[in-house]
């Protein structure tokens, strides 16, 4: 259950990226989470809610974009995806492969409600 400490790290990044007075305007924090990143999305969302309730970031919600685990086989010059983290090529069985994605764990975007735009 390391999602709580990951949620804390996400909040630290948001606080460093948005001026303090605009924190209540944060609506969405967009994350990329690889399928093999070892993070449980539900636990992460729960932890995020626990840590933001009654804080200036109370209006913020996590939006998690899942990134599939993809390998490239250098011999077959083809990409393959699987959910279990196999890096052997499913066609030729070779180990000359490269992981293209699926290990991501990053904050990519923060969306704020634009208060000024709504003013008459």
């Amino acid at each position: 259950m390391h999602e709580l400490s990951i949620a804390q790290s996400i909040l630290d990044i948001v606080r460093q990226s948005v001026p303090e007075k605009e924190l209540p305007d944060v609506r969405i924090v967009k994350l990329q989470v690889g399928d093999l990143a070892g993070v449980v999305p539900d636990s992460l969302e729960f932890s995020f809610t626990v840590l933001t309730t009654d804080t200036p970031l109370r209006n913020a919600k996590l939006q998690i974009d899942h990134v599939p685990f993809v390998i490239l086989c250098n011999a077959c010059e083809k990409t393959f995806t699987n959910e279990v983290g196999f890096v052997l090529c499913p066609t030729c069985g070779g180990a000359d492969t490269k992981i293209l994605s699926g290990l991501e764990l990053q904050v990519v975007e923060i969306e704020l409600e634009d208060i000024k735009a709504e003013a008459p």
Binding site: I6, S17, F86, L103
Partner: protein, 216 residues
């Protein structure tokens, strides 16, 4: 809506401290192993056999991570090597900062090999770089041969796999070939050691492999 685009790694702070740790280790000429496994697979026993092998030959130090108690540090202290216990008080893994703090209480002078025993957990520790040269995962035969498939992250990030408790093979439902095959499907580059800390089988091979990585 206005959008701030940032693209920052969630664990960048941990990675930054890990980088500092790594620099410090390399300045001191210490090779560092981060030993990970589920609870009870025998990490501490592997450490004990390793300490016995290198006794009088190479100076070692140990950092122990546990949720509670310093029982493991007490076991290690019998081998008269510098040892520090990190108690995470509920934390399910070690982080780079905990290791950095532990280093203030650990004399690395002359230490060629630092063994860090992570908290017993096959999920969380795989995310956290501590500054080690490599992660080594221990899986015991008693846990069954499907562990790599259930916890791929850990096997993916490891450089070596110790299959421990091979003396129990006649009594447990585990095929060595299947266990090895599953691990190599996740990570074909894994060095695999078959070990029993009871009979000492595989210990010399593992230690000689470690020895190859130590600075002169």
């Amino acid at each position: 809506m206005s959008v701030v685009t940032i693209h920052r790694k969630v664990l960048e702070k941990n990675d930054e401290i890990a980088r500092r740790n790594r620099e410090r280790f390399s300045q001191r000429g210490a090779f560092v192993i981060n030993l990970v496994s589920s609870p009870g697979s025998g990490k501490t026993s592997v450490l004990e056999r390793t300490l016995e092998f290198f006794e009088g030959k190479v100076k070692l130090a140990v950092i122990e991570g546990d949720v509670q108690t310093d029982l493991d540090a007490q076991r290690i202290a019998r081998y008269h090597v510098p040892v520090v216990q990190i108690v995470t008080n509920g934390g399910c893994h070690l982080e780079a900062k905990l290791v950095e703090d532990a280093l203030t209480n650990l004399d690395l002078n002359g230490v060629k090999l630092l063994l860090i025993e992570n908290v017993g957990n096959l999920v969380c520790p795989s995310n956290y770089d501590l500054g080690e040269a490599m992660k080594v995962v221990v899986a015991s035969t008693a846990e069954g041969d499907d562990k790599p498939l259930k916890y791929p992250g850990m096997f993916l990030h490891a450089s070596a796999l110790i299959i421990n408790k091979i003396d129990l093979l006649p009594y447990v439902n585990c095929s060595l070939d299947v266990l090895k095959g599953n691990a190599l499907k996740i990570n074909p580059a894994l060095m695999v050691f078959e070990m029993s800390c009871t009979t000492n089988a595989g210990v010399p091979e593992w230690c000689r492999w470690l020895e190859e990585h130590l600075s002169g």
